[in-house]
C-alpha cells in the first residue's frame, strides 16, 4: 500500500437540522482508507454510519450539512469542490450500494438501463460496451441468466439478486471506492451468504477499496480488513479485524460482543393441556395456497418459536390464529374449544385471550394517539376500567415495561425510540390481560442491544404472568435465546418441530441444517470455510 491514502477524512463534523436548530450527527471523526482496502463501519442505528459513508462521497442528505473537517479523495478536496466536480466523481470513481436494493432501483427502468446510466453520462463507455460489460459483471456476481436478467424490471427480480445487480451497477465504471451501506440487512440468512460471497469476491478481484457499513458484527467480520466502531457520531475504536474480534478494548465494543449472552433457562417439557392448539390448518390468499396442514400447540408459560425465511408462512399462521385469515381447512382451539375462524365472529373474551405484538412498532402504534390511550384502550374495553382505575392500570403497565410512567404517559409514539415503541407494543398486549401473546418478529427491526432488552423483558413478563408466547422470527440467535419449543417452516409447511434442544441438536432436517449453517458467526474465516464446505458437498 502506498503512503497517500485513497480517502482521508479529518475531524469531520456533520449536523442535522432539527427545526431551526442544527444538531451534531458526526462529531469529529477521522478515517483513512487505502486503495484496495475494506473498512468495516459498525454501529447501532443513529450512530452516524450511513452519514459518514455518504460524506465520503462529499454528499450530505437533505437536512444535513457538513460543518467542519476535511474530506480528501485522491487528492481532491471534496468539501471545496464544485457540485459539478463532485458529480463527475460520483458513480465514476466512488460508487454506492444502498441497503434496500428494491427501493434503490428505479422501478420504472430496466436493470440494464440503470446499469448503463452512469457509464454513459460519465462518458466512460458506449451503450454497447456497457451492455456487454454488464453481462460479464452479472456473471461474476453469480446472477442467474446474466445475459437476460438486465432486461428485467426491478420488481421482476428477487431481493438477493437485486442486491447483487446493484453491486454490479456500482462496479460499472470500475470505481476506486465503493460504499456498501448495509447491503444484506434486508435479506434472509440463506440469501445473505450468496450476496456476501459475491461482494467479497468482486471487491477483491478489482482491488476496489470499500467502506462496508453494517450493524452485524458477524457479517463485518467476513468482509472487512479493518473495523471501525462508531457510537453516537463518535469513533470508539478502530483495529484490524482479527485484533478487534479477539481483543476489543473499549467498553462499548465489549458490550457489543456480549449481547448474545442472553439465554432463557431451560424449561421442563410441558405436561398440561395446551392453551392454543393449531390443528391441521390449511389456508390460502385467494387462490394461492400459503399454508399446508400446519399443526402445533402453545402451552402456558412456554414459548413456541416459529422460524423460517420470508414467505415460509409463519406470519400467515399468526393471521390464522388471530382470525384475520379464516383457514380453508383445520381449526384453532383456545382452551380446547374451537375458535370461530373469523375474528369478527369471536367474542370479546376470546379476542382478549390472544394478543399480538408487531414487527414494525412504527406502524403498529397509532402515531396520533398518546400512550395513555394506546395502552389504556384495551384495559378500558376488556376490563371495563375507567377514570382513576384506568390511569393506575396504565401506570402499572408502564412500570412493568420499565418506562417511567410520569415521563411517558402523555407522549406520542413519535417521541419514543424504536425499543421504547416496541415496549409500548408489549404493554398494549399486556393491557388486555391475555393468556397468549403472538410476537411477530418483534426484535428484528431493532439494534442488538435493544433486542436483548426486549427479550429479557418478555422473559421476565412470562415468568411473572405465566404467558404463552408464539414467537415468530427468522433469526436463529433469537430462537436460541428465547424458545422452549421450535417450529421450523418452509413454503407454508412445517419442516421440523419439537423442543429446542431436540431441534438444534443434530441430526437436522436438511432445511434446518441450511438455516443453521447460514447464520454468520463471529469468526473471520467463517464464510470462507462455509463456502468451502458447501463446495465440497456438491
Amino acid at each position: 500500500m502506498t503512503d497517500t491514502p485513497l480517502l482521508s477524512i479529518r475531524d469531520l463534523h456533520i449536523e442535522g437540522r432539527a427545526g431551526e436548530a442544527w444538531l451534531p450527527i458526526i462529531k469529529g471523526v477521522d478515517l483513512t482508507l487505502h486503495r484496495g482496502e475494506v473498512l468495516g463501519l459498525i454501529g447501532e442505528s443513529g450512530a452516524g454510519k450511513s452519514t459518514l459513508g455518504l460524506a465520503a462521497m462529499g454528499y450530505a442528505r437533505d437536512g444535513c450539512r457538513i460543518s467542519g473537517g476535511e474530506i480528501v479523495f485522491d487528492g481532491i478536496d471534496l468539501r471545496s469542490a464544485s457540485e459539478r466536480r463532485k458529480r463527475s466523481l460520483r458513480g465514476r470513481r466512488i460508487a454506492y450500494v444502498a441497503q434496500s436494493a428494491a427501493a434503490s432501483f428505479n422501478p420504472a427502468h430496466k436493470l440494464i438501463d440503470q446499469y448503463a446510466e452512469a457509464p454513459l453520462f460519465h462518458e466512460v463507455m458506449t451503450r454497447a460496451q456497457a451492455q456487454s460489460d454488464a453481462v460479464k459483471l452479472y456473471d461474476k456476481m453469480r446472477l442467474p441468466n446474466p445475459a437476460e436478467i438486465g432486461f428485467r424490471y426491478p420488481h421482476q427480480v428477487s431481493g438477493g439478486q437485486l442486491q447483487r445487480a446493484m453491486t454490479a451497477m456500482a462496479m460499472a465504471c470500475r470505481p476506486d471506492l465503493i460504499i456498501f451501506d448495509e447491503p444484506t440487512t434486508a435479506l434472509d440468512v440463506t440469501t445473505q451468504i450468496e450476496v456476501l460471497a459475491a461482494i467479497r469476491d468482486i471487491v477483491r478481484q478489482f482491488d476496489t477499496a470499500a467502506i462496508y457499513i453494517t450493524h452485524d458484527l458477524a457479517v463485518v467480520a467476513q468482509m472487512a480488513d479493518r473495523i471501525k466502531i462508531l457510537l453516537r457520531g463518535e469513533q470508539v475504536e478502530e483495529a484490524d479485524t482479527r485484533t478487534m474480534l479477539a481483543a476489543p478494548r473499549a467498553a462499548y465494543t465489549k458490550s457489543l460482543w456480549a449481547v448474545r449472552s442472553f439465554a432463557r433457562a431451560l424449561q421442563p417439557p410441558a405436561t398440561d393441556a395446551p392453551i392454543v392448539s393449531v390443528r391441521g390448518v390449511t389456508a390460502a390468499y385467494g387462490k394461492t395456497p400459503v399454508l399446508h396442514n400446519v399443526s402445533f400447540d402453545i402451552h402456558a408459560g412456554r414459548t413456541v418459536a416459529v422460524v423460517g425465511e420470508s414467505g415460509s408462512g409463519k406470519s400467515t399462521t399468526a393471521r390464522v390464529i388471530t382470525g384475520l385469515l379464516p383457514p380453508t381447512a383445520g381449526e384453532v382451539l383456545l382452551d380446547g374449544k374451537a375458535l370461530p375462524p373469523d375474528y369478527r365472529a369471536r367474542s370479546r373474551a376470546q379476542l382478549r385471550q390472544c394478543q399480538m405484538i408487531y414487527q414494525m412498532a412504527d406502524t403498529a402504534l397509532n402515531p396520533k394517539l398518546p400512550l395513555r390511550e394506546i395502552i389504556g384502550r384495551p384495559a378500558e374495553m376488556y376490563l371495563g376500567l375507567k377514570g382513576r382505575a384506568l390511569r393506575e392500570r396504565v401506570r402499572a403497565l408502564l412500570d412493568m415495561i420499565e418506562l417511567e410512567p410520569d415521563a411517558y404517559i402523555d407522549r406520542l409514539p413519535g417521541e419514543l425510540s424504536g425499543g421504547q415503541k416496541q415496549r409500548i407494543g408489549i404493554a398494549r398486549a399486556l393491557a388486555a390481560d391475555p393468556q397468549v401473546v403472538i410476537c411477530d418478529e418483534v426484535t428484528s427491526a431493532l439494534d442488538q442491544i435493544v433486542q436483548e432488552g426486549i427479550l429479557r423483558l418478555l422473559d421476565k413478563l412470562q415468568g411473572e404472568l405465566g404467558l404463552a408466547y408464539m414467537f415468530i422470527t427468522h433469526d436463529l440467535a433469537t430462537v436460541r435465546a428465547i424458545a422452549d419449543d421450535v417450529v421450523v417452516m418452509q413454503h407454508g409447511a412445517i419442516v421440523e418441530q419439537g423442543a429446542k434442544a431436540q431441534v438444534f441438536a443434530p441430526p437436522h432436517a436438511p432445511y434446518t441444517e441450511l438455516l443453521l449453517s447460514s447464520v454468520p458467526e463471529m469468526h473471520p474465516d467463517w464464510l470462507s470455510n462455509l463456502l468451502a464446505a458447501r463446495q465440497s458437498q456438491t
Binding site: L54, M57, Y59, R61, D62, K86, R87, S88, L89, R90, G91, R92, A95, Y96, A98, S100, A103, S104, F105, N106, P107, A108, H109, E117, A118, F121, H122, R152, Y153, H155, Q156, V157
Partner: protein, 317 residues
C-alpha cells in the same frame, strides 16, 4: 397485456353501471324540477287547455317510470329519439356541438397540458425558489378568479385591441387555422383555469418522490438535477399526473358552460342548460350520458395509461 384487457373490460362494465345510475339520477332530478316541458314551452302564455293539449302531444301524461323505460329501451337500441321541444332528432342536435366541445377541450388541453407539465417540472426542480413561489402563486391566483371574469379580462386585453375576436363563430366549414384563431380566447381562458391544478399536481408528485432511495441513488451516481427529475422522478410520478390530466380533460369537456356563454361558443354545456330549462328530458339525458361517458372513458384511459407506464403493474415478475 392480458391483465390490462381484463381491466378495461371490467372498467367498461362498471362504466355502464355508472351511466345507468347517472341516467336515473338525471331523470329523477329533471322530474323533480318544478314545471314540465309543456309549461316550459308555453311559458306565461300557458292556459290549461293548451297545456293539456301539448302534454298529450308530447306524451307527458304517462307516469314517470313508463317514460323512463321508454327512453331507456330506446337508448339501449341507440335511438335517443327526437327533442320534444324542437322535434329535431337529438343526434343531429348534438353531433355538431359535441364536435365543437371536443375541439375546444382538445385545444385548451393542447395548450394547458404542456404548459402545466413544464411549469410543474421546473417548479419541482427549483423548488422553494422564487420561480417556484411565483409560479405557484400565479397559478393559484388564476384559479381563484371566476372563469367568466378571466374571460372578460382576456377580452379586455386581447379582443378590444383587435388581436382576437371576442366571440366564436365557427361552422363545420371553417378551416382549422380559422377555428384555432377564432377559439383562441376561450381556449386560453380554460387553459388558465385548468393549468394550476395540473401544475401543482405535477410538482407535488415529483417532489413526493424526491425523498425516495432511488432518487438518492441517482444523485450518488452523479446524475444532474434535471436528469434526476426527468428520468428518475417523472416516470414514476406519471400515474398521479395522468389522473389529474384526465380529470381536467373531463372538466374541459363537461364543465365549461360558463365559458361557452361568454364567448358564444356553441357547445354541449349551453345545450344542456337550455334543455334543462325547457325540461327537455330526452336531450338532457343524452347530453348527461355523453358527459358521463367522457368522464368514465377518460378515467379509464388514465388508469390504463397509468398501468402501462408502471412496469410493476404491467409485467408481474
Amino acid at each position: 397485456m392480458h391483465a390490462v384487457l381484463k381491466m378495461i373490460a371490467q372498467r367498461l362494465a362498471l362504466g355502464a353501471l355508472t351511466l345507468f345510475v347517472v341516467s336515473i339520477v338525471i331523470f329523477g332530478a329533471t322530474e323533480l324540477l318544478p314545471g314540465d316541458l309543456a309549461s316550459a314551452i308555453l311559458g306565461q302564455s300557458a292556459t290549461p287547455e293548451t297545456l293539456a293539449a301539448l302534454r298529450a302531444q308530447l306524451g307527458l301524461n304517462d307516469p314517470a317510470p313508463v317514460r323512463y323505460w321508454a327512453w331507456l329501451t330506446g337508448a339501449l337500441q341507440g335511438d335517443f329519439g327526437v327533442s320534444l321541444a324542437t322535434r329535431r332528432p337529438i343526434a343531429d342536435m348534438i353531433e355538431q356541438r359535441l364536435g365543437n366541445t371536443l375541439f375546444l377541450a382538445l385545444y385548451a388541453a393542447a395548450l394547458a397540458v404542456p404548459l402545466a407539465l413544464v411549469l410543474g417540472i421546473l417548479a419541482a426542480l427549483w423548488r422553494n425558489t422564487i420561480f417556484d413561489r411565483v409560479a405557484n402563486a400565479g397559478a393559484l391566483s388564476a384559479i381563484s378568479f371566476p372563469e367568466f371574469f378571466v374571460a372578460y379580462i382576456l377580452v379586455l386585453w386581447l379582443a378590444q385591441s383587435g388581436y382576437f375576436p371576442s366571440m366564436v363563430r365557427i361552422s363545420p366549414a371553417s378551416s382549422l387555422a380559422d377555428k384555432l384563431y377564432m377559439s383562441f380566447l376561450p381556449a386560453l381562458t380554460l387553459t388558465l383555469v385548468v393549468t394550476a391544478h395540473m401544475m401543482r399536481m405535477t410538482r407535488a408528485a415529483i417532489i413526493n418522490l424526491m425523498a425516495s432511495p432511488y432518487i438518492e441513488m441517482a444523485r450518488l451516481k452523479g446524475a444532474s438535477p434535471l436528469r434526476i427529475v426527468l428520468r428518475h422522478a417523472l416516470p414514476n410520478a406519471l400515474a398521479p399526473i395522468i389522473n389529474v390530466i384526465a380529470l381536467n380533460l373531463a372538466y374541459l369537456i363537461t364543465g365549461v358552460v360558463v365559458v361557452e356563454v361568454v364567448f358564444v361558443y356553441p357547445g354541449l354545456g349551453q345545450l344542456m342548460v337550455d334543455s334543462v330549462a325547457k325540461r327537455d328530458i330526452a336531450v338532457v339525458q343524452a347530453i348527461a350520458l355523453i358527459f358521463a361517458s367522457a368522464y368514465v372513458l377518460l378515467n379509464l384511459t388514465a388508469d390504463v395509461l397509468s398501468t402501462l407506464t408502471n412496469p410493476r403493474l404491467m409485467k408481474r415478475g
